[in-house]
Symmetry: C2
Subunit: 345 residues, 2 copies
């Protein structure tokens, strides 16, 4: 029933040591032997016993994904990308949703890593932006990869996958500017998430480049939630001089803003343009569907895991620049944006 390394060795006519060498990609295996062994492995559909491997080897064959994100679609996409990478490299994925704000969070992460003997760990915001987590992980010598918001690779950001929110926000804002909007408001996400700051910076940069000064009243603090969008838009629409467009920091906020505009009988996009960010599935499930920026989350996750695996292989280290793939979310124009009413006709 169970196929062990011995069965493979017997079938291939080699010693188990050689099979082990093949399984671990060790050099100094002749091509011919490698082929024989590979054939035997696939003929028997052999898969090494993970438990035995973990036990015997100093190396580990599982990675962890720690998250605290209310956006289910984001998490599922991340998992998908991570699992794909894991399958490809024969790793297992351990998921660990938790509360980033709990007091013992650093210890919790350490316990997780040590208990499960993880080869490494993938961090997304907010964990990827908590210096104490990175330090703790460094101090116990566990590899990790961070997915963070940033535009320029730098030596300080080792083992990071960057998502260039700045440039994406810049482009989105340009889209609105090109439609003739100048009174553009910005609904922020959580302050702790640097993505919110980066997006705001890109927004401001685009305005500045056109010689427009951002109206402080149009920049509304908030959080990455539907409710926050509802509240933010309500504030904006109560203003004497209303904006003609709203840049929401993500799709949920945008959906909330849309909701709020409806309550106030504001027509979208005729009277007010709204853009989101992320291209989460429900940006397509609002009415009208949201103009947004597409973030290829599972590809990002896959790259992050690959980075971890390369790094985790003892002795293999990459140059810093190569370690920092940069993804730029892409503008996706749908029906929630239109030409500014003032400039129309």
């Amino acid at each position: 029933m169970k196929i062990t390394i011995n069965d493979v060795a017997k079938l291939a006519g080699v010693s188990i040591k050689t099979v082990s060498r093949v399984m671990n990609n060790e050099p100094s295996v002749k091509q011919a032997t490698l082929d024989k062994v590979t054939a035997a492995i696939s003929q028997l559909n052999y898969q090494p016993n993970a438990a035995a491997r973990n036990l015997a080897s100093t190396r580990s064959y599982s990675i962890g994904y720690i998250y605290d994100n209310p956006n289910a679609y984001y998490v599922i996409d991340m998992q998908k990308g991570l699992l794909e990478a894991c399958r490809k490299h024969g790793y297992e994925l351990l998921i660990h949703p938790t509360n980033a704000k709990s007091v013992g969070i650093v210890q919790e992460v350490i316990d997780l890593v040590q208990h499960a003997r993880l080869a490494g760990i993938v961090l997304t915001p907010p964990f990827s932006e908590m210096p104490e987590i990175a330090e703790a992980l460094d101090s116990i010598g566990v590899d990790f990869v961070r997915i963070i918001s940033g535009s320029t690779p730098s030596p300080k950001l080792t083992n990071c996958v960057l998502v260039d929110d700045f440039t994406a926000a810049f482009k989105i804002t340009n889209h609105l500017l090109e439609l003739g909007h100048t009174d553009i408001a910005f609904l922020c996400g959580d302050e702790e998430h640097s993505s919110s700051g980066e997006r705001l910076a890109g927004f401001k940069a685009a305005l500045t480049k056109r010689g427009i000064q951002a109206n402080p009243k149009y920049i509304v603090p908030g959080s990455y939630s539907f409710e926050s969008g509802v509240k933010g838009a309500k504030t904006l629409l109560a203003l004497g001089h209303k904006p003609t467009a709203i840049f929401a920091c993500n799709d949920e906020i945008a959906a909330g803003a849309l909701f709020s505009a409806r309550l106030s009988n504001v027509e979208i996009p005729q009277q007010l343009s709204i853009v989101g960010f992320e291209n989460s599935p429900f940006s397509r499930q609002t009415w009208p569907p949201l103009t947004t920026a597409h973030q290829p989350n599972s590809t990002i996750a896959l790259q992050a895991a690959e980075l971890l695996f390369r790094h985790a292989r003892p002795g293999v280290h990459l140059a810093n620049t190569e370690q920092q793939p940069v993804f730029i979310p892409e503008l996706l124009v749908r029906e929630s944006t239109a030409v500014c009413p003032a400039t129309r006709n």
Copy 2:
């Protein structure tokens, strides 16, 4: 650094075997020894090495969750419940998203179970409703728990957690009836999912009880997606005699129907009431928010896992009736439903 069973044994002044006994809740350990060992365990913060346990024992300490569901919120909720149960009982969770319709799916499941040496597996629709999966799992002697749609425990449904879609749909329909609606349409989910059939049956039963015959034109086949809701509502609104209420088989369909109604300038809920099912987060993120039925997914998942663990413990079997907890999703009235226009004032 790493604390092993030996350290605990030394500190407690017993043999490692005794520590092992304590760890596995075996009987025949004197209370005094048990206390000594327990103290040592907590003093050292000892956690057994999962790999070693898996290797040495015939028992396994991980369960799998196989899914193929586009609803990210559902999946995340399930994972949450499963993880909670796993943590409590010292199990690991292996997640495995896959395509239920691929040809080699049965073999894929078997491979997964055998490769990962799973103690058991949790199945949600559509997997929980595929007899070939259950048979395959039975034939290789792997425990599994199915979460399925059904109202009455029966000996045939061993190891099932039931979600009583029938009763919930009955109640929802009653809600509409009480608002004076009689021309009520039903937007079906995927035919393969028995939940859709159960909900339809509950719907029909409620109508029948009031002496109303369901209009066949009002029962629209479809799938669990936003797009399906858009299309279904479009069909309904093109009818000569339009329904005054729509029962959508889930929130996504309902959101699509809402979208479609807006496109046709139909006011919700003044001209048309719409109800969803599931209480997924975005039922709160439509305008107006959807009346729906709340399904406690993570609790359901937790129960399912507990059932698996009890069953997986060799020698412990439960009576059939006790093995079938039944959950009835609860009516949640929000703003997408109102009194039938014809009966108003």
